[in-house]
């Protein structure tokens, strides 16, 4: 099964489960969690079901396209459902069967794995899902986001698409994956991996990134005051990415590091508060769709 078929199948499956098929966000994010379709939607009482692919950037994980397992941008398939359904583990296991992974023939285990995103003020409890010893999914019941206790509780399922594809296609190198039957992962991503690694580690203009961080932070803060949480959140994402870039570049000293993280977290918290207030003013419109 090639890479894009895996995506198709997951989309089809989760679409059948009633999920909205969202698209990757148009701003750099470190994980599918940061897409507003997750972060802003898990807040408050409104039900929400969504699934989408998220190309996720981890500047520090770049290896110039030389490491068979690490890339600075990987693909997550993200599912977020609030409130978490009672049979969600069963629903998840069935989704693997859509990928040809028949559960009775494998050793699939749910291994304790707590999850935390300090810049988003978010944490949850759940598992790493292991398929024959390989972690293929993170399965988390969110407890907090933006520092706010969540109620009802959403469940987040994050598939690591490259890893699943490597098992399915029996490849030892991510770049050997078949994207479709003609084009490989290497064909599509190798140059980007190399160039971004070069950029992230060697070329990124530190002064520009610092000044961007401050500019984005001001803008986010300004927009929160204007009670515009959605555009504000875009600038928080930009802040976060600028921080990740600076971090990969080794430009943030230790003493400053916690400071930068808490600046982003504070914005995320304020933004989350405003977002809930706005939804409340709108009488939580998705409540009636339940």
């Amino acid at each position: 099964m090639n890479f894009q078929t895996i995506i198709f199948n997951l989309q089809k499956y989760w679409s059948k489960q009633g999920c909205v098929l969202c698209q990757p966000y148009d701003i750099e994010v470190g994980a599918g969690t940061m897409n507003p379709a997750t972060f802003l939607r898990v807040l408050g009482p409104e039900p929400w079901k969504a699934a989408y692919v998220e190309p996720s950037r981890r500047p520090a994980d770049g290896r110039y396209g030389e490491n068979p397992n690490r890339v600075q941008q990987h693909h997550q398939f993200q599912v977020i459902i609030k409130p978490s359904p009672d049979d969600i583990q069963e629903v998840y296991l069935k989704s693997l069967e859509e990928l040809g992974i028949i559960r009775k023939n494998h050793d699939i285990r749910f291994i304790e794995g707590d999850w935390e995103a300090p810049t988003l003020g978010a944490w949850g409890l759940g598992w790493e899902v292991w398929l024959d010893g390989l972690e293929i999914t993170q399965f988390t019941y969110f407890q907090q986001a933006g520092g706010i206790e969540l109620n009802p509780i959403p469940v987040e399922i994050t598939y690591g698409l490259e890893r699943i594809a490597m098992v399915i296609q029996n490849k030892e190198n991510v770049f050997d994956l078949k994207w479709n039957n003609q084009i490989t992962y290497r064909d599509i991503h190798w140059q980007a991996e190399y160039e971004h690694s070069k950029y992230n580690f060697e070329c990124a203009d530190i002064n520009m990134l610092f000044s961007l961080f401050n500019t984005y932070e001001n803008e986010a803060s300004h927009l929160i005051k204007k009670l515009l949480p959605i555009p504000a959140y875009d600038y928080i994402l930009k802040c976060s990415h600028a921080f990740n870039m600076l971090d990969a570049r080794g430009a943030i000293s230790v003493s400053e590091r916690t400071g930068y993280i808490s600046r982003v977290r504070n914005l995320a918290r304020e933004c989350a508060e405003v977002q809930i207030k706005k939804r409340e003013e709108m009488n939580f419109p998705l409540m009636e769709k339940e």
Binding site: N67, P68, N69, P83, S84, P85, D86, D87, Q89, E90, L93, R103, K104, N105, H106, D107, I108, R109, F110, I111, E112, D114, G124, L125, W127, L131, D132, G133, L134, Y141, Q143, N151, P152, I153, V155, V167, E172, G250, S253, V254, S255, R257, T258
Partner: protein, 701 residues
């Protein structure tokens, strides 16, 4: 009599918590049923990651009946003079639903009152179970709990079904919207369907048939047997990591062991790296050729039957290969640079908020360990080794290997130090300075390791106390108690002379200079707090050695520096003398002296004011023995110190017999009390003897 069964069906409970939960489930249930006064034969708990099971066998059909006495109004108002019941008596009888002639009168402390005796009929076990099972479930404690869906209930992981039956009947209750019934589920991968359970007897068979082994003991035995079977077939060394076995046991419902291999070339990696990758990261069991040498093989215990071993092991081998390839890459990269060149990078890693970087920490413990080495009389060569080891001690934290496998801190430090041509003693000290890492861990053995280990832990404790991060209750985020205990065990076992109080003062002054912690005038308070903190751990260690609590308490109340060896000598002296008549006299004297001189200060004795004969005798005896006494203290000869006090006892006895302390003349009186104070200080110098319980005979047994 019937059996009752509860199965709480959950999503996967973390393996590390399961054993405790099952124990608590059993204990809470026993306690509940004992309190309810209902008979049963046995409560047992079983469990897998997906179910907590409670089995109460031979439960009585109902609670025992209980007779109770209810107090009513005073007899004087309830009855008139001719014992005719009045309105209060009638009302009381009504309220207790008994006849008036069943009321009786009893004397109480407050006079005569009327009473009613009632029999409370025991409730049926079904009713009791309906009420107490949900309470038992909700009473369980977890390190971290969570909510799910729209529920309010907090539990370690979501509860998905509750099976509760008494014999063949369902015990009906509701837990946060989830109703109990007689349905269970089989193995998640093999037979995931819902199954009806008609009776308890059938429950056990149904689960067995559906690939669920509920008994951890049986599961553990199956795992062990299969692992050993694989080892024996391949003629390998028979060794199984028991704590690994326990963890894996709580991750599976139907265990099955499969043998897998990795390429020989990875055996060039350090053994600890291979073991960490396999055990910690992949949850495998490494295979050994002999005690010290690994084989290029491993065992994975899967949660499935053996029908598809080939494919499953292939997957595991691939994952392990990628992991080992990574580890090998890190190892080769790390070896390219000598360890000493990493030290500079520690400037970029924060140690702890307000406590500088790891580089700052390195500098602090270098200084502190040099100082401790000086105190304990190490030679120049020894000091050089310690300085070097301290300088390198944290450098492995910025190597790729330790960043990836944090558990290997210290271990990699030793390997990389050795590979960078550092002295063997230096490498060893780098490893040993993290010891002991947990309660039963080994202790550092080399001088360098011992001193550096103490310096490192003391730096953690002093730093935290200085910024106010003092452990309290269950709050000890930096594991300071464990570290204090580590220091104490290390000092005791190594027998090295190390003044902890001096080391604490130096450590504090280093913090003050380097990190600019503003202690204002709290410095001595902080020192005292740390000494008390260490003393508390020491107390526990001594108690574990079987030393009486009162003896420990008496000595620790007199000794304020936490000089562990000195404390032990004092304790030994007291224990030697504990049952002697002389020591009994010494205690009596010490207590009298202390009581009378309480609140007074030592003063210079004016000989001309000593009037009474026994007073003069006592004073002369004091003068005669005082220097000798001081010598014994100086030399830590506490046994002799008490011999001297023993000699003074008869004079003290006579003094109290013959002399009235409270003389009319104020000057005489003050002089006399002054003498008593001097003696009291002498008697209570080694230990505050009033803390020693004199009911010694009780404790002999």
């Amino acid at each position: 009599m019937v059996d009752a069964l509860l199965e709480i069906g959950t999503e996967e409970i973390p393996a590390s918590c399961l054993e405790n939960i099952l124990e608590e489930l059993k204990k809470t249930t026993e306690k509940t049923f004992n309190n309810l006064k209902i008979n049963y034969f046995k409560v047992e708990s079983f469990g897998t990651p997906r179910r907590l099971i409670l089995w109460i066998s031979n439960l009585d059909e109902k609670q025992k009946d209980v007779k109770i006495k209810v107090k009513g109004p005073a007899a004087a108002i309830a009855f008139d003079e001719i014992m005719k019941p009045q309105k209060p008596a009638v009302k009381f009888a009504q309220s207790q639903s008994i006849n008036i002639d069943e009321l009786f009168i009893e004397n109480t402390k407050k006079g005569k009152y009327i009473f009613a005796e009632k029999t409370i009929k025991g409730k049926e076990s079904m009713k009791l179970l309906e009420q107490c099972l949900p309470k038992i479930i909700q009473s369980l404690n977890f390190p971290k709990s969570m909510r799910w869906g729209t529920g309010k209930l907090k539990f370690i992981r979501p509860i998905r079904w509750i099976l509760a039956i008494l014999g063949e009947e369902v015990i009906h209750f509701d837990l946060d919207g989830l109703s109990s019934n007689n349905m269970t589920f089989g193995h998640k991968l093999l037979t995931p369907e819902q199954i009806k359970v008609p009776s308890i007897e059938k429950y056990f068979r149904i689960l067995e048939e559906n690939f669920v082994m509920i008994d951890p003991i049986k599961r553990g035995a199956k795992i062990k047997e299969e692992i050993l079977d694989n080892i024996r077939k391949n003629n390998r060394h028979e060794i199984i990591n028991e704590s690994q076995l326990k963890e894996i046991n709580y991750m599976v419902e139907y265990p099955h062991a499969i043998l897998g291999y990795f390429e020989e070339k990875y055996l060039k990696l350090p053994l600890q790296v291979l073991v960490t990758v396999m055990e910690v990261h992949q949850k495998y069991f490494p295979i050994y050729r002999n005690k010290e040498e690994l084989d290029n093989a491993f065992i994975v215990v899967i949660n499935n039957t053996g029908h598809n071993d080939k494919e499953i092991i292939k997957g595991n081998e691939n994952v392990l290969k990628a992991r080992l390839e990574d580890a090998n890459f890190f190892y080769q990269e790390d070896l390219k640079r000598p360890l000493k060149n990493r030290v500079e990078e520690l400037k970029n890693v924060i140690f702890r908020e307000n406590m500088g970087t790891l580089f700052d920490k390195t500098q602090r413990i270098t200084e502190l360990s040099r100082f401790i080495a000086g105190l304990s009389g190490l030679d120049e060569n020894g000091k050089k080794i310690i300085s070097r080891a301290a300088f390198l001690s944290k450098a492995d934290l910025v190597t790729e290997m330790v960043k990836e496998f944090p558990k290997l801190q210290g271990t990699m430090g030793k390997i990389y130090a050795f590979a960078s041509d550092e002295k063997k003693e230096v490498s060893e000290a780098v490893f040993e300075h993290y010891l002991p890492r947990f309660a039963e861990d080994k202790l550092p053995k080399t001088h360098g390791g011992i001193i550096l280990s103490i310096a490192d832990k003391l730096d953690n404790i002093v730093g935290c106390f200085a910024v106010g991060l003092i452990p309290s209750g269950s709050q000890d985020p930096y594991g300071l108690r464990r570290q204090a205990l580590g220091i104490i065990r290390t000092v005791i076992e190594s027998r090295m002379e190390i003044s902890l109080i001096e080391s604490i003062r130096i450590s504090l002054s280093i913090f003050k200079e380097d990190i600019f912690i503003d202690l204002k005038d709290r410095e001595e308070t902080v020192v005292d707090q740390i000494i008390i903190f260490l003393q508390q751990r020491l107390k526990n260690v001594l108690l574990e050695k079987g030393i009486f609590y009162d003896v420990i308490d008496a000595v620790l109340s007199a000794e304020k520096e936490c000089d562990i060896h000195d404390i032990q000598s004092r304790i030994h002296a007291i224990q030697d003398l504990y049952h002697s008549e002389m020591f009994g006299n010494i205690i009596n004297s010490a207590i009298r002296l202390m009581n009378i001189s309480k609140g007074n200060h030592e003063i210079e004795i004016n000989e001309s004011l000593l009037k009474e004969e026994d007073e003069i005798h006592l004073y002369h005896q004091y003068i005669k023995h005082i220097n000798q006494f001081k010598d014994t203290i100086q030399n830590g000869n506490y046994h002799e110190s008490y011999e001297i006090l023993g000699e003074l006892c008869p004079y003290i006895h006579d003094f109290f017999d013959q002399v009235l302390v409270m003389d009319k003349d104020e000057l005489v009186r003050k002089n006399r009390v002054g003498l008593i104070k001097k003696l009291s200080n002498l008697f209570n110098h080694v230990a505050i003897l009033s803390k020693i319980s004199q009911k010694k005979d009780d404790k002999k047994s």
